[in-house]
């Protein structure tokens, strides 16, 4: 793993566009070949690449910038693993598989990612179920990181305290919806 890899990983952890662009530029083509040579199309390649970056991001925000291998090898291994799973799922598994790149074991990371991904989907569903204005209010605070003052102004609350109370009411509803789905899994 080079100093540049570490730098890119730190950038990725901060959702930095320049770092992400650099990761795309040096890795996308090889991932696209991997998918195209193994029964996939361009859209599959884009999806797998994005998911691979998310796995890498999860690793980076856990504070672990040490991949024990080059970033390129890591991302290739993750995408290869993800694509194999998808092929098995779609039952498009062919006997001949063409993987050329060097790989490392990433089972643990993928397993962790799948758990987080399931939570993400549940949260997304709960957000849809909760409806407006709760959805926009919560996303303004948690996703767009807006202050309660800004939120009060945007949504038309008379003051930040009222907006905050509303935010917590929405959060409690969201929490109930989220855990209700969890229990029915």
């Amino acid at each position: 793993m080079t100093e540049n890899d570490k730098f890119l990983l730190e950038g990725l952890a901060n959702n930095d566009k320049t770092a992400i662009e650099a990761i795309y530029k040096t890795n996308y083509t090889s991932i696209q070949s991997l998918v195209l040579n193994n029964n996939g199309d361009i859209d599959d390649a884009k999806d797998i690449f994005q998911e691979g970056i998310i796995v890498l991001y999860e690793k980076a925000i856990s504070g672990n910038f040490d991949l024990n291998c080059a970033l390129k090898t890591y991302l290739y291994s993750v995408c290869r693993h993800l694509w194999l799973k998808k092929l098995q799922h779609k039952q498009r598994y062919t006997e001949q598989i063409h993987f050329l790149g060097e790989i490392i074991q990433v089972d643990e990371e993928i397993e962790l990612h799948e758990k987080k991904n399931a939570d993400f989907t549940l949260m997304e569903k709960a957000m849809v179920k909760i409806g407006e204005p709760c959805k926009s209010l919560l996303e303004a605070y948690y996703v767009q990181k807006k202050s309660m003052q800004e939120i009060a102004a945007t949504f038309g609350y008379t003051n930040a305290d009222n907006a905050k109370t509303q935010k917590y009411k929405c959060l409690i509803r969201l929490k109930k919806l989220f855990f209700a789905q969890y229990k029915t899994l």
Binding site: N15, E21, Y24, Y28, K116, Y142
Partner: protein, 80 residues
């Protein structure tokens, strides 16, 4: 304790926004009240999940922007 107050407390506790005095007081309440302690654990799990959701949502947004830009520049092929 009111559910809203408790959520607010948990959020500020997780974000490191409590003063030392408030933090000590909050930890004391948890120690002495198992019901509150349980709620704190639950809220913590939930707030961690919503924070993860938010991070990934923002990341996906950036990924989409970068992908669009690189497609326009011809670095990513649009079709075969």
């Amino acid at each position: 304790m009111d559910d809203i107050l408790l959520l607010d407390a948990v959020e500020r506790y997780l974000n490191g926004e409590m003063s030392q005095t408030e933090k000590t007081y909050f930890e004391e309440i948890r120690k002495n009240n198992p019901d509150i302690d349980q709620l704190v654990v639950e809220h913590t799990l939930f707030i961690t999940t919503i924070n993860n959701y938010s991070n990934i949502k923002s990341l996906k947004h950036t990924l989409h922007e970068v992908e669009t830009k690189l497609s326009q520049e011809g670095i990513i092929t649009k079709t075969l």
